[in-house]
Each structure stands twice: as structure tokens, then as C-alpha cells.
């Protein structure tokens, strides 16, 4: 049912069953957890890299833990006396809980966010603590409840509106574009719309074309909104807290396959800048810009590339709009080569915008044209092989780096 990728240097990359499987199979939350726990291998361990810029409150960093291999079929949790490790969905839930506690105007709206706990458990049990109005189960009317969220935001509340799948928010495009994005402007600054619009997107495991959409490219042109894509439990929690506190409307992209990713999360004071990128790996050969789940595909490729003697720099964009031009331009000036690895389609994607910006503003810093690896411009097929052929695989990343950087001598590391 799942395949594990090649073992990296001490880290095992896993592919996780999406949370929604429980819809078909289980009746109890406890049962869900038990099943996922019994079937998941250890998740990617958070690497202790240099602190991402913009983290407001930073914890003291311990030395990286020795990697462990897990027994087949059992969840082997590497317990840490000091640090808290949570699934990403737990981190998101904690962010929502903490912010709702902190500010009574913060509320949640969406389908099945209340009694069901959220289809990816991000609001599990919160309705018991905060009541049915603060964790509002809406009928199935995306445009309607998105607009209701806008009106509530204009009049003083801070709603978090969940799309059960980001794709469903296509139905709310009217409200997101016209009202969410534009109202602060057309009202001459009189009304603001501090919404967080969040939900899972991206290609899952054979979920079919309509449940596998990448809406970051569709939403990116809307003036007046910010786009953020999370990738680790830590940045997911810290960014969601920042997004909830922001006075701007934030479209907050989570990924279906990352909810069971386990990692460290910060405490209740840790918020992360919504406008800054994360340097995942320092390097010199090439700048690889990526976001969301593709970060892990890139890091998988990097393991292979390191063996071949390459030294790539990997940057997780985090902020899909606006781009963090400081981090981006510093990296490009250093490496002089750019590879963009993204899950959205090539046409009009985030990579298309980034490529244009880099070509325009950093043209003389480049030794090679900007290379983009994006999804094919096809609807995502159901069949596994076709689905895999639609999105970027790590082998393609390796190949692209080899072509861009040229051959290397034997690895020195």
C-alpha cells in the first residue's frame, strides 16, 4: 500500500496514507490513530538546520540526533525528553487552539470542522472546548460561507475558513478574488479582511483529478492576498499562528500527504514570518527553489547528488506570494544557477512567476537559464503510474542538476 523511498543518510522517507482513508474504513478516532500508527513507518525526522530567518522566538538547538531505523510495520517514535514532536496535523491543531485561546475573535468555519473534527483532524475536538459557533460546521456552500467569513472579518472577527480540499475553493473563487482580495482596496482602506483560508491541496495517492489540484497557481494573481505553503510540522504551526494574527488575507496551503509528517514544533510564542523563505540546505553549486511536498522530493535527490559530488543549495519558498527576494537573490548570486521544483502545473505556475522575476532582476547573475521542473499540464490520472508521471520525481531533479551543473569529479565528502 505504500512504498518507501531509498533510505537516505539515516533518514527514511515515507509515503503516508492520507488521513481521509479513515472515512472509508474506521468509525472511531482512536481506531484511526491506531491504524495509522501501526502502518506508518517513522516519519522524516526534522533536521537541525540553521534556524530559518524570521522565527521570532527561537529555541535552543540541540545537536542532531543519531538517525534510527525503524522496525517494519511499527511506529518507532524517537522520544525526546526536551522537544515536543507532533504530527503536522497536530501542530496545525495546536496553532488553532492556541490562537483561539489567545484571541476570542478567532473562529473556524468549514465543512465538518466541528463534530467530525476536520477531515484531516486539524480541528479535532475543538468544538467541545469552544462551542459550535466558534468551530462552525457549515453546509456545503463554499462561496456562501467564504463570503460569510469575509463579512465576519470586515466587522471584527478573525475567521479561519477551511476548504475540505483546496480544490473545493474553486467554488469560492468569487468571494476570494472579489471580496477577500479587493475589499480593503475598493473601500479605500476602511474595511480589512483578516481571514486565513486553509486546506489540503496537492497530489495525494490516486485521489483522482479533481482532488489532486494545485490551486496556488490559480490564486497567485489575486491582488491583495498572500500565499503561504507549509512543509514541516514546525513551520506549519508557526506560520499558521502568524497567518491568524495577520491583518491580511492569507491563503494557506497544506499538503494532503504531509499531515502525518512528524517533527518538532515550537511553543505558543513561536510565530514565523509569512514573507520569508527557509534555507533548507546551504550550498554552492545551484539554487533549488521549491515548496511544500516537493521539498522532500528535492532532499531525496540531494542525497543522491551529494554522493555524486554536488553541493546544491535548497530553499523552501514558504511565501509563494510575495517572494522573499532577499533570500532568493542572495542564493542566486552565490550559485549562479537556478532550478525550480514545484508541484503545480508548468503553465502559469509559481515557478513561471519566479522564473520571470529571476530572469528580469538577476539576469547578469546567471550562468544558465532558469530550469523549471513542474507538473505536466494534464489532469491527474487515477492510475498510479500515470499519476507518478504527472508530478516531479526525485530522479528528474537529479538529472536536471547534472545537466545544469555539468559532470562532477568523485565525491569529496
Amino acid at each position: 500500500m505504500f512504498k518507501s523511498a531509498a533510505t537516505l543518510t539515516g533518514h527514511t522517507m515515507v509515503e503516508w496514507m492520507p488521513c481521509h482513508v479513515r472515512v472509508y474504513e474506521l468509525t472511531s478516532v482512536a481506531g484511526t490513530l491506531a491504524r495509522i500508527v501501526s502502518q506508518c513507518r517513522i516519519t522524516m525526522q526534522a533536521r537541525a538546520f540553521s534556524a530559518p530567518r524570521g522565527v521570532v522566538a527561537q529555541r535552543a538547538r540541540a545537536a542532531p540526533r543519531a538517525p534510527t531505523h525503524n522496525a517494519r510495520g511499527s511506529l518507532h517514535v524517537v522520544a525526546s525528553a526536551k522537544k515536543k514532536e507532533l504530527f503536522m496535523w497536530e501542530g496545525l491543531r495546536e496553532a488553532i487552539d492556541e490562537e483561539m485561546e489567545r484571541d476570542p475573535t478567532v473562529c473556524v468555519m468549514g465543512e465538518d470542522v466541528g463534530h467530525y473534527g476536520g477531515s484531516y483532524k486539524c480541528t479535532l475536538g475543538l468544538y467541545k472546548k469552544y462551542g459550535d459557533m466558534r468551530v462552525l460546521d457549515t453546509p456545503i456552500c463554499e462561496n456562501g460561507f467564504m463570503g460569510m467569513g469575509v463579512g465576519a472579518a470586515m466587522t471584527g472577527l478573525r475567521p479561519i475558513v477551511e476548504g475540505m480540499n483546496m480544490g473545493f475553493l474553486l467554488l469560492a473563487f468569487n468571494q476570494i478574488s472579489n471580496n477577500c482580495g479587493m475589499l480593503h482596496y475598493t473601500s479605500g482602506g476602511q474595511y480589512k479582511t483578516p481571514l486565513v483560508i486553509r486546506g489540503p491541496g496537492g497530489v495525494g495517492r490516486q485521489l483522482g483529478a479533481e482532488h489532486s489540484q494545485r490551486l496556488e497557481s490559480y490564486f497567485q494573481s489575486i491582488p491583495g492576498v498572500q500565499l503561504v505553503a507549509v512543509s514541516t510540522p514546525r513551520n506549519a504551526k508557526a506560520l499558521l499562528k502568524a497567518a491568524i494574527r495577520s491583518d491580511n488575507p492569507i491563503i494557506f496551503f497544506e499538503h494532503v500527504l504531509l499531515y502525518n509528517l512528524k517533527g518538532e514544533v515550537g511553543d505558543r510564542d513561536e510565530v514565523q514570518s509569512l514573507e520569508r523563505a527557509e534555507v533548507v540546505r546551504q550550498g554552492t553549486d545551484i539554487s533549488i527553489f521549491t515548496y511544500s511536498r516537493m521539498r522532500y522530493v528535492v532532499m531525496q535527490a540531494v542525497a543522491e547528488l551529494e554522493k555524486q559530488g554536488y553541493n546544491p543549495e535548497v530553499i523552501d519558498l514558504i511565501s509563494l506570494k510575495p517572494f522573499d527576494m532577499e533570500t532568493i537573490s542572495q542564493s542566486v548570486r552565490k550559485t549562479r544557477k537556478v532550478l525550480i521544483v514545484e508541484e503545480c502545473m508548468k503553465t502559469g505556475g509559481i515557478g513561471a512567476s519566479l522564473s520571470a522575476v529571476i530572469s528580469e532582476s538577476l539576469f547578469n547573475e546567471l550562468d544558465h537559464e532558469v530550469v523549471r521542473l513542474s507538473s505536466q499540464d494534464v489532469p491527474t490520472a487515477y492510475a498510479y503510474e500515470l499519476e507518478a508521471a504527472t508530478i516531479v520525481q526525485s530522479s528528474q531533479v537529479v538529472e536536471a542538476v547534472q545537466k545544469t551543473c555539468g559532470a562532477r569529479a568523485v565525491a569529496t565528502a
Binding site: N174, N178, G188, N248, E275
Partner: protein
């Protein structure tokens, strides 16, 4: 010959009474409607009556001035005038409190005036000046005023209704969640007959009833959606010869009432009851007002499809002369009082045009100012500063990507 129109007087309860809409075969009429022989409603004091009259006349004169200004090249784009429908705006909005909310559509000038947005602010906005309520950034279809709790004009029909619902949700939230017991503001959303075929209308009806929100749906059924006559766009409700929008209320769990939208006192009576209902916490109401716009859909509409007879029929039901007659007859105002009110309106309209004319245009630096409430949303520049911190950013030509 007098208008042969039988108007059923609405009952005291919030129950539909149906004007004889189907019989529009009268010829053009010159005489004004015969004054009603009934007494003034008890709640109608001279102050209230004068306020209603002033508001309707202001709405009418303002809109007529807009037409003049448009043809003189002072305002541009799509301008949708409200002339003829004043009884709805005045009848509903003047029954609200300042802390209540109104959400409108592109035909929003008069709703804004009734709610308390000054004529100066609206006219300056229409002229695209920076003294306009939205700094010239909204225009005719996007009048907003947070001071007056006017939640906006909206260009796409239907998209304002959920926003109004959100304000009602906030009102209930303040009471039930934040525990502000005295908080009982209500929201009215205005929209037309064409909007009653938009999905968001139905989505909003459902949620308003489901959550028992203090929200009032006011349908201004002027029978025409640009060139689409209402029965051509909407199926008849079962058992009726034509579509009855108010009947859709009960289907969604709220009372629906039909009222003569050319009679401000009848609209006000129905509105007062719906507002009281919402404030008590009993939930939403759907009010269908049968009304008419004397002008075309917008100033660009040649208005060739509507018959002369139909226009004359409604011209004879003009709400302003009707109220005038009633005030005189019931002793609520003298001719002199009324003249004084009309003069005040004329002065106000003249003043707002002068103000708008003399106001400065927006500076280029205004271009980027209100895109984000938090300007960090423009991102980080290559030198590490947030873009909005860079010198020259406010000149409106700074790069933003």
C-alpha cells in the same frame, strides 16, 4: 381618469398581501394617485414623516444630479440609478439604528445616503476624487463606509449577500460567544429580482435560517434584470402565474412577505416588524418589495424593452408625491414645511457637487496604499528591507515582485 389599481392593504401581521401585478393594461395616466382615506399609522410622528420625506427626495435629487453629471463627463463607467425605488431604501434603512449594518449591490448610492453616508462623500467618490468615501478607489458600484456601517456596493450580483450574512454572524457571535448581552445589531442585504436566481442567494437563505442570524433579505423586485423581464428568467412558483420570490422564504425556513415597494409607509411597517424579529433573536425574514426603476438599468442602457404603459403605471405610483399627499392630509406637515425640506435637499445636492468638483484627484502615491492592511504583504526586497519601507515605494511606481 384615475389609475384603476386596486391595492390590497397589507395586514398588520407579517403575511403576504398581493398587489394586482398581473393587470398592467392601463393607459398612460397624468393624474396623481388619489390620497388614501385611511388614518396615519400611530408610529408616524411628524418628525419621522419629515425624515422619510427628506430621505426620499434626497435620493431622487441625488440620482437625477448623477445623470446630469454623467452626461457632462464628470463621472464614468457603469452608473446604476435608483430613481423610483426610494420607498424601499427609505422605508427599510431609516428604521435601522446607526449600529445596524446595510449591504447593497451596484445600485447603492441611495442605500448609502439613507444609511448616513454624506452626499459629499458619495458624489466625490463618483467623481473619482480622493475625498470620496473610498478615496476614489471604489467608484459607483463600491460605496463603503465603516462610519455608517455600510458594508458596500458589489459589482457581481449576489456576492454581497453572504457578506451581509457575515455581519449578522458577527452580531450573534458578539452576543453568544463574547457575552455582550446588549449587542443586538441587525443586517439588511439589498438585491434585485435577477439575483434571486444566483446560487449564493439560496446558500445565504439556508445559512441565515440554519444559524438563526439577525439578517433581513430585502428583494427589490423591479421586474427587470437589465433586459430580462423577471418571468422570462425565473420559473413561476407552483400554483402561480408568475414567480413569487417571497414564497421562497418559507421553503428555506423563514417568513416571506410581499409588500408594495412604491409606498414607503407600507415598506416601513414590514421592515419594523422584521427588524424587531431579528433583534429578538427569532431569525431572518425575506421581504419582497414590488418596485420599479424609472430609468434604465444603467446610464448606458437605452431601455428599449420596457413598455410605455408599464412605465406610466409606475410613474403614477411614485412614492414621493404619495407621501407628500399623505403628510398634508394627515396634518403631519404643511406645504411650507415640505417646501423647506425640498429646499434643504436642493442645497445639499448643489453643495455636494461643488465639493466634489473642487476636490483634488488622488495622488499617484495612493496606488499601493490600501492593497494590504499590513503592508508587509508586499514582501521583502533584495536588500532585505520590506518593500513598503523602501524610499520611493509610495510614489506608486515601485516594483512589487
Amino acid at each position: 381618469m384615475q389609475v384603476a389599481q386596486k391595492m390590497a392593504v397589507p395586514q398588520r401581521r407579517v403575511v403576504a398581501s398581493r398587489p394586482a401585478r398581473a393587470s398592467l393594461k392601463v393607459k398612460a395616466v397624468a393624474a396623481v394617485q388619489k390620497p388614501s382615506s385611511s388614518k396615519a399609522p400611530a408610529s408616524l410622528t411628524p418628525e419621522v414623516a419629515k425624515d422619510l420625506y427628506y430621505d426620499m427626495v434626497l435620493g431622487r435629487e441625488f440620482e437625477e444630479m448623477c445623470a446630469q453629471m454623467y452626461y457632462r463627463g464628470k463621472m464614468f463607467g457603469f452608473v446604476h440609478l435608483y430613481s423610483g425605488q426610494e420607498a424601499v431604501s427609505t422605508g427599510v434603512i431609516r428604521a435601522l439604528r446607526p449600529d445596524d449594518y446595510v449591504c447593497s449591490t451596484y445600485r447603492d448610492h441611495v442605500h448609502a445616503l439613507s444609511k448616513g453616508v454624506t452626499a459629499r462623500e458619495v458624489m466625490a467618490e463618483l467623481f473619482g476624487k480622493k475625498t470620496g468615501c473610498c478615496r476614489g478607489q471604489g467608484g459607483s458600484m463600491h460605496i463603503f463606509s465603516s462610519k455608517a456601517n455600510f458594508l458596500g456596493g458589489y459589482a457581481f450580483i449576489g456576492e454581497g449577500i453572504p457578506v451581509g450574512l457575515g455581519a449578522a454572524f458577527q452580531s450573534k457571535y458578539k452576543k453568544d460567544v463574547l457575552g455582550i448581552e446588549s449587542y443586538d445589531s441587525v443586517t439588511c442585504s439589498f438585491f434585485g429580482d435577477g439575483t434571486c436566481n444566483v446560487g449564493q442567494f439560496y446558500e445565504s437563505l439556508n445559512m441565515a435560517a440554519l444559524y438563526k442570524l439577525p439578517h433581513i433579505f430585502v428583494v427589490e423586485n423591479n421586474k427587470w434584470a437589465i433586459g430580462m423581464n423577471h418571468p422570462r428568467a425565473t420559473a413561476s412558483t407552483m400554483g402561480d402565474d408568475e414567480p413569487m420570490i417571497y414564497k421562497k422564504g418559507p421553503a428555506f425556513g423563514m417568513p416571506g412577505v410581499l409588500v408594495d415597494g412604491m409606498d414607503v409607509l407600507k415598506v416601513r411597517e414590514v421592515a419594523l416588524e422584521a427588524i424587531a424579529r431579528a433583534r429578538r433573536g427569532d431569525g431572518p425574514t425575506l421581504i419582497e418589495c414590488e418596485t420599479y426603476r424609472f430609468r434604465g438599468h444603467s446610464l448606458a442602457d437605452p431601455d428599449e424593452l420596457r413598455s410605455k404603459e408599464e412605465k406610466a403605471h409606475y410613474a403614477a405610483r411614485d412614492p414621493i408625491p404619495r407621501l407628500r399627499q399623505q403628510m398634508i392630509e394627515w396634518g403631519l406637515a404643511t406645504e411650507a414645511d415640505i417646501k423647506a425640506l425640498e429646499k434643504r435637499v436642493a442645497d445639499e445636492v448643489e453643495d455636494c457637487v461643488k465639493f466634489a468638483d473642487e476636490s483634488p484627484k488622488p495622488d499617484k502615491g495612493q496606488l499601493l496604499e490600501n492593497v494590504f492592511a499590513d503592508p508587509r504583504g508586499f514582501g521583502i526586497a533584495p536588500n532585505g528591507q520590506y518593500r513598503y519601507e523602501l524610499p520611493g515605494f509610495s510614489s506608486g511606481t515601485a516594483a512589487v515582485s
